[in-house]
């Protein structure tokens, strides 16, 4: 399939941030997230992403490293919220994943706390991939 392609991720479980969309191009794998501030942090708290965050494909040891971000701070910087009703759309860019059916994980910390953004078992089926319209 000709790149770039995108995948809408319809996860049933309630996660925060929620992983919404994956876009694979020749340059990168972009993952889009939406975050809503929880009630239990004063003024909504803050978010950041570790520069050491990576992707792995199940069945392989290769790590696909983080190369860029949009809409979120790279640690140790933080993006501070102002209220418990705030929200943020952000994107992380990694090295390009293989262009065949796979299941991948996103690892921010190998010893995660509940504040780390780790995601597991995200399936990518290229029969569901949607091609971009390139002008």
């Amino acid at each position: 399939m000709k790149l770039p392609v995108l995948f809408h991720i319809q996860k049933k479980d309630i996660a925060n941030p929620v992983l919404l969309r994956v876009i694979i191009s020749e340059q990168s794998t972009r993952i889009d997230f939406g975050y809503t501030t929880p009630w239990y942090y004063s003024k909504g708290g803050w978010i950041k992403i570790s520069p050491a965050t990576y992707l792995t494909v199940q069945g392989s040891d290769k790590k696909y490293t983080l190369i860029d971000v949009e809409g979120i701070a790279i640690a140790p910087k933080r993006l501070n919220f102002q209220s418990t009703e705030d929200w943020k759309f952000f994107s992380l860019f990694f090295e390009t994943l293989p262009t065949h059916d796979c299941v991948f994980n996103m690892i921010e910390s190998e010893n995660p706390t509940e504040d780390d953004f780790n995601f597991y078992n995200i399936p990518l089926s290229f029969t569901d991939a949607i091609a971009f319209r390139i002008e």
């Binding site: 991720i9 919404l20 969309r21 809503t36 009703e85 929200w87 759309f89 319209r133 390139i134």
Partner: protein, 328 residues
């Protein structure tokens, strides 16, 4: 060879003289005088001869203008009387109308629509100022409200292109009400403005029906290379014609809605009807029943609430309860 700007302005003077049906066959002296009068610069006969030669050349160097010196009449003419340098012949009235239209477009068009349109309108207006230098001295007699640019408005061009060329769009939507993000695959067919807010309407695959999305809640849209799902435009357009606003209250059909307005509020409804179905039945006290045939919307309820005690719902009863619940 590129045509310089001052030469092009002389070409237009020559063209204007050659098109003048009331005074045909302008002489060289008349052309020189017209150039001085219109452009304020002395022009030699040699320059005019070169201009005419250039105008006769084929594009792109010239305009293939059929200019001939008529010896018997002692002046120049277009051998094809329908020829015009710019392809379209404009009367003085046409030109004045264009100037006024350009001014109006600049006032209302530009930034309220999109950056692309704004640039096009700026080009038109700049051209008008260049062609008619005195135009800029005109006083402004119209002022419109130009709201600051809103979030999501930058996606206008993409959705407009998607509607015209029938491309589905992937975007991320955030619901203010539910505080939920969702990926949406939309087959858009209409962009709608209501009270300076912009919406895109289309068939949503996630919802399996036609849905409306505020552009301010849309993130990162991409055009897709997918088959476009068309919907029955007649049904959808008829539906939107029956709305005041964009978000209908779910499962409510078009129905009779009666509001009672104070004398003060009645004046505004009479001056600014909110929908084509509006009928005002005025009582002797000045109070009026205002009747609509509408699909009830969130925006209608907001309008009613915004009027405080100037406006109340008479019927249907369910709308009275619904509105009351919205306030609690």
């Amino acid at each position: 060879m590129p045509i310089n700007k001052s030469a092009f302005r002389r070409y237009k003077v020559i063209d204007m003289l050659l098109q003048n049906k009331m005074k045909r066959y302008p002489t060289m002296q008349e052309i020189i005088e017209a150039c001085f009068e219109k452009l304020g610069v002395d022009t030699s006969a040699e320059t005019i001869q070169k201009d005419i030669a250039q105008m006769r050349m084929l594009p792109p160097d010239g305009f293939d203008a059929p200019i001939l010196y008529n010896r018997s009449k002692g002046g120049y003419e277009y051998t094809n009387p329908d020829f015009s340098l710019l392809g379209v012949q404009l009367s003085d009235l046409d030109i004045e109308t264009i100037k006024e239209s350009a001014e109006l477009l600049q006032l209302v068009g530009g930034s309220r629509v999109s950056e692309k349109f704004n640039n096009a309108i700026e080009k038109i207006f700049t051209t008008v100022l260049e062609e008619f230098p005195n135009h800029k001295h005109r006083e402004k007699h119209v002022q419109t409200m130009v709201p600051p640019t809103s979030r999501g408005f930058e996606h206008f061009d993409l959705f407009y292109s998607a509607c015209i060329q029938k491309y589905p769009v992937s975007f991320i939507h955030y619901s203010y009400n539910k505080r939920v993000f969702s990926p949406i695959l939309l087959h858009p067919f209409l962009i709608k403005e209501f009270e300076n807010k912009w919406y895109v309407i289309g068939f949503s695959e996630k919802h399996n029906k036609v849905r409306t999305f505020g552009l301010d809640r849309v993130f990162s849209p991409f055009l897709l290379n997918l088959n476009f799902k068309t919907v029955d435009r007649f049904i959808t357009e008829t539906t939107f014609d029956n709305l005041y606003g964009v978000f209908p209250i779910p499962f409510q059909p078009k129905q009779k809605i009666i509001l009672q307005a104070t004398a003060l509020a009645t004046n505004y409804f009479l001056a600014y009807p909110i929908h084509s179905s509006q009928n005002v039945h005025k009582l002797s006290s000045g109070v009026a029943n205002i009747v609509f045939e509408l699909i009830p919307t969130i925006e209608l309820i907001r309008l009613i609430l915004s009027q405080g005690n100037q406006l109340k719902i008479i019927s249907p009863d369910w709308l009275v309860t619904y509105t009351k619940n919205m306030c609690e």
